[in-house]
Structure formats: structure tokens, C-alpha cells
């Protein structure tokens, strides 16, 4: 089982996941229409890129955009959750060991303590995000089952990974469960809203280009995000 | 002298005096009386809703409403309309001062007659500074007559016209109008200059000197062209008070004066203008002239 999951399935997963994300990015860009979007992307590319990058950067840095300032609590949870989500799997020792075995190279691995910490942050962050959906009427009204499912999918590898790591229960089983949930996670990236992994950048870029070209950028005033 | 007289009326009793004068004049000169009613002031952006000038209520002007307003006006002025040969009712919507000016221009009116409060309801004044009267008086090409009270609002049987001058350019036009009217109606004409000493400390001699200078100036500035029944007066004081006093003393039937465009910081002019003060206090119609075109 383990071999199967870490063998062909894993390969297929990576292929589908990353290939899929690339396809989504390409489709997104190709689907942009200067007339319908009313943004002259091409002739004013320089302004566009400038505006786009400003827009991305403003939202990638905690507390930079006005939004992040107005909601400090949420901002903390959000960034903690996402940093955990992205950093943990990439720099995890166990993952990099496998990487080394397969390709002969690995990324710097982080100390286990930190990895554990980040994984916990993810779980707790995910929990808060879920509670928030229940607690606030303005979030509740737009939340549906799908949103919870995505949260579960997002944190499941962390839960299972931790269980396996602490060897609570049958290690083999939990390891397989972990790998399976990780693969689901990866496969979901291109096909669900998790595609925002890439589309976040494209969408922010697009609006940023809009501001950078049409809505002020070419007038020499920068949007104060 | 007058071929077309534009009467701006809301149909309310406060404009009956104006209506009476307008129709009397129409009869006398065989002039056409154009009865203008600004039904409503547009409000709410591009919507079709207007504020009824009289009630301030929101209404939508459609054919039915138009017909109703026209009927009302016809009933109100029934006798007067019958008394003149030509008359016409014009209904419109817009800001009163602007629509009065527009109608005067479109119809090439020779005189605008309005009540002191024609169309001045609080409703539309919001955001548009200055009274309707101020704005009409400033911009009209023809003389503008205001009838504040219903009493003494007959045109004809006149005894005395007071022309008040401040020696401005506009006053020259006003003088022409006053003289022509005095001739036409065969009345006495009093030319008055009110020496403005409000807020100034002058000794008696200086005042005397100035009065003499002013008298001299009136004689040279205004060519009576053979008109005899005229006398010249220079009184000192607050101009509007002196003008009203003089009108009382002479039992004037008409006051003619110039309107100053440079008085038009509308909000200030509204309180400060000599003309408006005179209109409020005088017991007879007041004509203001600011342009030379129609005198």
C-alpha cells in the first residue's frame, strides 16, 4: 500500500496537481479580454505590471493593506494558517528525505520542533476559521458545505501527519492515511477553490493592472491599497 | 412701448397684485400677456419627480397634471384673461429664475412682472443661492417689475414716478425707462439721488457740498429732452430708506431703479440690496432695469 501510494499515485498526483495549476493559469490569462475587462493590458504593460505587483505585495505582507489593518485578529490567524500550510510540507524533514531518495537532492529541512509547531498552528488556525464561519452572520450567510470541506481537506494532512508522527495508534495506517490525505490535498488544488494558490496571484495581478493602467496608475497616482 | 408682457405667477394670492398690473398694462398697450407658471422644480437627479412650487410636495408632471394646472390658472385669472386681447399660458418645470429668463428670452418679452415672492419657496432655493428676483433682475434684458402688495397695483391713473439713481451705467437705462413711462402716462417724474451716508461721519458742510454736486450731476447726466414735469432731489441717509420716504411723500405710483450686477454675491445681495429693501417696503410697483436693450 505504502509503496503504491508513494509510487505511481504520487507521481500522478504531482503531475495532475502542478500540471493542472499551470493549465489554470494559462487559461486564466488567455481568458482575459481587454475590451470586456476594459483594461488595455498590452499597450500599457509597464504600468500594468507595476500596478499588479503593488497590488500583490500589499496583500502578501501582513498589515500592509488597509484590509489587514482593519482586521488585526483575522490577519494574524490568516497568515499563521497560510504560512503553516505552505512552509511545513515544503521544508519538512520527512518530506525532504523522500525527495532526496527520489531525486538525489533536498531542500533545507527545518527542525522538527518548528514543524510540529507550524502544523499545530495550522490546525488551530483552521479551527478558528471554521468557528468564525459559524459565529459571524456576515460570514455564515455566504458559507456553504463546500467551504467546510475545503477547510477539512486543507488541514487533514496536518492532522494525520501529526498523528503519524506522534505514533498515536497504528503508525502504518496513519502514515497511509496521511499520504492519502496529502494526495487528495494536492489533487484538489487545481480543481477546487484551492486553485487560489495560483489564481490569487493572477486575480490580484489583474485588479492591480486595472488600477495601474486605467484607475489612476497612468495618471501618476498609486492606489493606496 | 410694450408688446409682450411676461407675468410670472405661481397662481397664489401673493402674485395677484403682479397679475393685476400685468393685465392692466396689457389692456392699455394692447400687449400680449404671457402667463408663466413654473410648475415644479426638478429634484432627485434625473428622475421625473419635481417639487411642486407651491406646496413643496413631490409630484410627477404628466399631461393630467399639466391640464389641471392650466385649468387652475385659467380660473384664477379668468376675468383678467378676458379683459385683454392676447394672452397665453406657458407651463414649464425648472428652476424659477432660469425659466422666467428663458421664457423672456424665447418670447422676446418687453417687461417681466412678478410678485416679490414669485416662486420663492424654500423647496428649491436649497443649493441655489440668491432669490429668484435677484437673479431675474440681474440677468433680464428687459425691465423687471415687482409688485409686492396688491394695493396700488393699477397701471394707469398715475400721478408720480420716482426714479432713483446711483449714477451707475445701469441707471442710465433705468432713466430712459422712467422718462418714457412718465411721458407715456403723462405723470410727474422725480429724480432722486440718495446720498449714502450710512456708516460715515461727515460734517454738515461736506454733506451740503456733496448734495450740490449730486444735483449738478443729475442735471448734466440726464437729458430730459423737453420733458417738463420733473424735479430733482438729493437726500442724504440710507439709500433704501430715502427712496421709500420719497415715494411716500410724492405718493409715487411707481419706483424705477437700476439693478447692479456687482451686488451679486447672491447671499450678501439678498440681505443687502437696496432694491430688495425698497421692494419690501414700497407701497407701489418697483421696476428694476439693468440692461439697455428693452427701454
Amino acid at each position: 500500500m505504502y509503496d503504491f501510494l508513494t509510487g505511481p499515485v504520487l507521481w500522478a498526483t504531482f503531475l495532475i496537481s502542478f500540471g493542472g495549476l499551470i493549465v489554470r493559469a494559462v487559461l486564466y490569462v488567455r481568458g482575459l479580454d481587454w475590451r470586456l475587462d476594459r483594461v488595455a493590458y498590452r499597450p500599457n504593460l509597464k504600468y500594468g505590471i507595476r500596478g499588479g505587483l503593488r497590488s500583490i505585495v500589499a496583500f502578501l505582507i501582513p498589515f500592509k493593506a488597509r484590509l489587514w489593518q482593519t482586521r488585526p485578529g483575522f490577519t494574524l490567524i490568516f497568515f499563521a494558517f497560510h504560512i503553516g500550510l505552505l512552509v511545513t510540507p515544503i521544508f519538512l524533514e520527512a518530506h525532504n528525505v523522500m525527495l532526496k531518495q527520489a531525486f538525489g537532492f533536498s531542500l533545507p529541512a527545518m527542525p522538527t520542533g518548528l514543524a510540529d509547531g507550524l502544523a499545530w498552528v495550522c490546525l488551530v488556525g483552521g479551527l478558528f476559521l471554521a468557528l468564525r464561519r459559524i459565529a459571524f452572520p456576515e460570514v455564515r450567510i455566504i458559507t456553504n458545505f463546500y467551504d467546510y470541506l475545503l477547510l477539512v481537506i486543507s488541514v487533514l494532512p496536518f492532522a494525520t501527519g501529526l498523528i503519524a508522527r506522534y505514533e498515536l495508534g497504528a503508525y502504518d495506517f496513519w502514515l497511509c492515511a496521511h499520504i492519502l490525505s496529502g494526495e487528495i490535498w494536492l489533487i484538489c488544488l487545481p480543481f477546487t477553490k484551492l486553485s487560489h494558490v495560483i489564481l490569487f496571484f493572477l486575480s490580484r495581478m489583474q485588479l492591480g493592472m486595472d488600477y495601474g493602467i486605467k484607475r489612476g496608475g497612468m495618471k501618476g497616482t498609486d492606489m493606496a491599497w | 412701448m410694450f408688446k409682450k408682457i411676461l407675468l410670472a405667477t405661481s397662481g397664489a394670492p401673493s402674485t395677484f397684485g403682479a397679475a393685476r398690473v400685468a393685465f392692466d398694462m396689457g389692456k392699455r398697450y394692447g400687449a400680449e400677456v404671457l402667463v408663466l407658471n413654473v410648475m415644479g422644480v426638478p429634484t432627485k437627479a434625473y428622475s421625473q419627480v419635481v417639487n411642486d412650487v407651491r406646496t413643496g410636495e413631490e409630484v410627477e408632471v404628466d399631461e393630467e397634471y399639466r391640464a389641471w394646472v392650466e385649468e387652475e390658472l385659467k380660473n384664477t385669472f379668468e376675468k383678467q384673461i378676458e379683459s385683454v386681447e392676447y394672452s397665453r399660458i406657458i407651463l414649464t418645470t425648472g428652476l424659477p429664475h432660469r425659466e422666467i429668463l428663458r421664457a423672456a428670452r424665447e418670447n422676446d418679452a418687453d417687461l417681466i412682472v412678478m410678485g416679490a415672492s414669485s416662486g420663492d419657496s424654500s423647496v428649491y432655493r436649497k443649493g441655489y443661492p440668491g432669490s429668484t428676483l435677484q437673479r431675474v433682475a440681474k440677468a433680464a434684458r428687459c425691465p423687471v417689475m415687482t409688485v409686492h402688495r396688491e394695493t396700488a397695483s393699477y397701471w394707469g391713473g398715475f400721478g408720480n414716478i420716482v426714479f432713483a439713481t446711483d449714477f451707475s451705467k445701469q441707471a442710465e437705462s433705468a432713466f430712459k425707462f422712467a422718462l418714457a413711462t412718465a411721458r407715456e402716462l403723462d405723470t410727474d417724474l422725480t429724480i432722486l439721488h440718495a446720498l449714502d451716508i450710512s456708516g460715515k461721519v461727515l460734517d454738515q458742510n461736506e454733506i451740503e457740498d456733496r448734495i450740490i454736486a449730486a444735483r449738478e450731476r443729475i442735471r448734466t447726466a440726464y437729458d430730459l429732452d423737453g420733458f417738463k414735469n420733473c424735479d430733482v432731489e438729493v437726500w442724504e441717509g440710507v439709500p433704501y430708506v430715502e427712496i421709500v420716504k420719497m415715494a411716500r411723500e410724492r405718493s409715487a405710483d411707481l419706483i424705477v431703479m437700476a439693478h447692479h450686477s456687482h451686488e451679486l454675491d447672491p447671499e450678501k445681495a439678498r440681505i443687502g440690496s437696496t432694491m430688495e429693501q425698497v421692494i419690501l417696503r414700497a407701497g407701489c410697483p418697483v421696476v428694476s432695469v439693468s440692461k439697455p436693450d428693452k427701454v
Binding site: Y28, F200 | E63, L95
Partner: protein, 467 residues
């Protein structure tokens, strides 16, 4: 009865149809017919497929349903923060559902969409600034309006508004003759006070071509005169076109894109005919948006720019003050607390946030200008944007919407509000009428004229003759 006589899927194209629709007082019959209007699902779905490309699709799809946009919407704030006013909810429950159902929706749904698109959103685009994914619901609502309009689901006044633009190429029945006559009239009316004042019509190769809002010639031609006076004093070589002078676009509020294109091309052809060095529009937000910001795209101009540089009135005014073409008498500057309404249409949507403040630095005594909070691109809509001001059926909702601006103004403590935008001006007037907070408001032109330091040679000759 699928298609009504007044309420149907066909835009108003003739004067006759326009008059007929206008005669339906308050849209009574129109709205009755609306209840029976059929939805052409195939057409709706076809047009969604043809026009909904990756940007909008992605927006609808990746919305994290996080609700962060809620607080950014003033309509959410003033309506008791009911969750139904969350921007994401508003768009997902309308456009989102319409797309999910592939256009197979019924009359009741379309009517709900209509109310949401016109009474729960002013397309102020503020929410787009606060969504982490950069989802601009204002843009989507504008798109939704287009879909609704094409199916005949549009408020009566806007059906008429777009009709006006189709029939007269102006938002009101102001014909070319009316316009030219008004210009002549205004020049005459003011020539004594401003010797040499002209409103040159159709002058070729001038430096400036000026365009305005039909409401000015129609109801408040003083505004045209004021523009002329300021150009005159500044010594500008300017002109107005006899045709193509109207810059506004109720069709933009209505979602009648075909008409938008026709109208903007009309303005551009005036530019091509008269070859001015640049064009300047009046103190109107949506007019600027329609002709300068979105217009080039409707007209299919690939660089996204009008044929010549086309600036907003505030840009010209700032420039004239900066270069000394217009001089202000410091003694006449505003000496009372005064605040400024930033219009979404050219501040959030074209970044013109600094020029207005530059103007104020000339006309307001230092220390008297009070910023609204928030301000600049973060300012809230006046409450009457996107056509909200003029729709009778949604008056109550509009009045509620004014509350945000009221709170903001009250918080500044100012009694004077400068509103260089027709729509904002209207909304603030209505605000005073509705809530009586004792404020005054003004465009820039009359204020500036009142405090000009007019050069000797431009003053009337024999002024102040009296002692």
C-alpha cells in the same frame, strides 16, 4: 403576456416610444408589465457565455466566502449590518446563481436581481479594495446590470434614461439647437460683467474642447456660464462642440452598452472634427467615467485612451491655479471649516485624489480644510451613485444610503461641503432635505469665481461709478 408595451427587452429607440414610456406616471403600467415579462433563458445564457470571461468567472469561483468585504460596503453598514448586504452574498446570490443555473431563472429571480443590482449596490467599487482576492463586486454588478437590461429588467427611470441617450444623445431632451442657443444666451447674459466673454462653438484647432452634463444647459446654465468665465479669465483658447457636447451616460447606469458606445463615439467624433489639443469635462464624476475612463473601451480604442488627452475639470482647475492662469484673492478664501466629497468615479476610479486637494490649498484658508474619514480612494459613496439618486421605486433605500455620508460630514463638523460631482452634489442636497443637518454644498466653479483676483483688463469698465 411575455413582452409589455413599455416594459420589454427592446431599448427605447424612438421619440414616440420615449414619450409613451414617460407618460406612464411613476412607471405604474411599466412595473405591472414587468411582473409578466418572460426571461429568455437561451439568450441570457448565450450572452453570459459570450461575455463572461476568465476574470469574472474566477472572481465568482474563488471567492473564499470569508466576509471580509462586508464592512467595506457602506450599504452593509447603514442597513443594520444585515448579512444580506454583504457584497459577496449580493453578487453570489444573483449573478452567481444565474450562472450556476445556466440562465434558467424565472421572473421573480430576475426582479430580485434587479433590486439587488440597483438598490443594494451603487457600483462604487469600494469592496474591491478590501477583498484579499481582488474581487471587485462593483464591476460585477455593472456586468449584471447589462444582463438584466438586455432582458428588460431595469427600473423605469433608467429605461427612460438610456432611451434619452439613444434618442437625443443626451440624458435629457436637449437638442443641438437648444444647446447652441443656451451657449449664446449665457455669453450674452454675462458679457457685461465679463467684457469679451464668449462661448465659442465649433472652433477648430482650439486648445481645449469643453463638454458637460445635459442637466447644465437644461436647468442650470449658470454652470456653463461659469465654465466660460473661468476659461475666459484664464485666457484659454477653448470651444464647445455643437454636437457631442454631452458627456454623461445614464446608459452606463442602466447597463445599455450599445448606447454607451454610440454616445461616446459621438463625443469622440466631435474631437476628431474639431481637433482640439485636449478635452475637458465638467465637474461630474460619472460623466468622466463614461467618456474618459470606460469610454475608450466601449469605443474599441486599444490603448484605452480617448483620442486626445481628456481631463476632468478639477485637473484643469488645479493646473490653472498652479500656473497662475487663475489667481485667487487671499482675502476671499474660504474661512470656515470645509470638507470635500471625493467622488468614487474619478478618485477611486482614476486616482484624482491629489489635484482636488491642491485646489483646496489655493481656495481655503490654511487650517480650515477638514478631511472626511475615510477619504480619498477609501471614501464612501455619497449614497446616490450608480443611478440610485433617480429611481423613484428605491427612494427609501436611497435615503437610507445617504446616512453614511451624513455621519461622515457630521463627524467633520463642517457646514460647507465641496462636491465636484453632479451626482454627489444631488445626493448631498437630498441628504440635507431628508435629514436637515444644516449644511451647504457647492461645486468648485462658483466658489472660485467668487474669489478670483480678476486682472484689470478683464473687469467691466465703468464699475463703481457712485461716490
Amino acid at each position: 403576456m411575455p413582452e409589455g408595451i413599455l416594459c420589454n427587452k427592446t431599448p427605447i429607440k424612438t421619440e414616440e416610444q420615449l414619450k409613451l414610456t414617460l407618460a406612464d406616471k411613476g412607471g405604474k403600467q411599466y412595473y405591472e408589465e414587468l411582473n409578466n415579462l418572460d426571461v429568455d433563458s437561451d439568450k441570457l445564457w448565450a450572452s453570459i457565455q459570450a461575455t463572461m470571461k476568465s476574470r469574472t468567472k474566477t472572481w465568482l469561483e474563488i471567492c473564499a466566502h470569508c466576509g471580509l468585504c462586508a464592512e467595506s460596503c457602506f450599504l452593509y453598514q447603514v442597513n443594520g449590518r444585515v448579512p444580506e448586504q454583504v457584497p459577496s452574498y449580493k453578487i453570489q446570490s444573483t449573478l452567481g446563481v444565474m450562472v450556476k443555473k445556466k440562465g434558467k431563472v424565472d421572473n421573480a429571480f430576475m426582479q430580485m436581481c434587479m433590486e439587488t443590482a440597483w438598490a443594494k449596490c451603487t457600483c462604487c467599487n469600494r469592496c474591491g479594495m478590501y477583498c484579499p482576492h481582488g474581487i471587485d463586486m462593483g464591476v460585477m454588478f455593472s456586468y449584471l446590470r447589462g444582463l438584466l437590461y438586455s432582458q428588460g429588467f431595469v427600473p423605469w427611470e433608467l429605461k427612460i434614461g438610456a432611451g434619452m441617450h439613444r434618442v437625443y444623445r443626451a440624458q435629457m431632451d436637449v437638442t443641438t439647437e437648444d444647446w447652441v442657443e443656451t451657449c449664446e444666451w449665457m455669453a450674452e447674459e454675462n458679457e457685461e460683467e465679463w467684457p469679451g466673454l464668449e462661448i465659442p462653438i465649433d472652433k477648430e484647432d482650439a486648445d481645449i474642447m469643453y463638454t458637460c452634463n445635459a442637466r447644465e444647459p437644461k436647468h442650470y446654465p449658470e454652470d456653463v456660464a461659469e465654465a466660460a468665465i473661468l476659461f475666459h479669465v484664464a485666457g484659454e483658447n477653448w470651444t464647445v462642440p455643437s454636437e457631442g457636447w454631452e458627456q454623461t451616460s445614464l446608459s452606463m447606469f442602466a447597463g445599455d452598452w450599445e448606447c454607451c458606445k454610440d454616445n461616446v463615439l459621438n463625443v469622440y467624433s466631435a474631437i476628431e472634427r474639431l481637433r482640439p489639443k485636449r478635452a475637458i469635462g465638467t465637474e461630474c464624476g460619472h460623466a468622466h467615467r463614461a467618456t474618459v475612463i470606460e469610454g475608450p473601451y466601449w469605443a474599441g480604442r486599444e490603448d484605452g485612451q480617448p483620442p486626445v488627452p481628456y481631463i476632468h475639470y478639477v485637473e484643469w482647475l488645479a493646473e490653472a491655479l498652479r500656473t497662475g492662469k487663475l489667481k485667487i484673492d487671499p482675502a476671499k478664501r474660504i474661512k470656515e471649516p470645509v470638507t470635500l466629497q471625493d467622488s468614487c468615479n474619478y478618485v477611486r476610479n482614476q486616482g484624482l485624489k491629489n489635484v482636488t486637494r491642491e485646489i483646496l490649498s489655493y481656495i481655503v484658508e490654511p487650517g480650515y480644510f477638514v478631511e472626511m474619514s475615510p477619504s480619498k480612494e477609501h471614501n464612501y459613496c455619497c449614497g446616490g451613485g450608480g443611478g440610485f439618486n433617480g429611481i423613484g421605486m428605491y427612494r427609501a433605500q436611497r435615503n437610507m444610503a445617504l446616512r453614511k455620508k451624513m455621519e461622515q460630514i457630521l463627524a467633520t463638523g463642517c457646514k460647507l461641503v465641496i462636491a465636484p460631482c453632479h451626482n454627489c452634489w444631488d445626493a448631498i442636497r437630498d441628504l440635507e432635505e431628508e435629514y436637515k443637518i444644516g449644511i451647504r454644498w457647492s461645486f468648485l466653479k462658483p466658489l472660485v469665481i467668487g474669489m478670483l483676483d480678476v486682472p484689470e483688463h478683464l473687469r467691466p469698465k465703468d464699475e463703481g461709478e457712485d461716490e
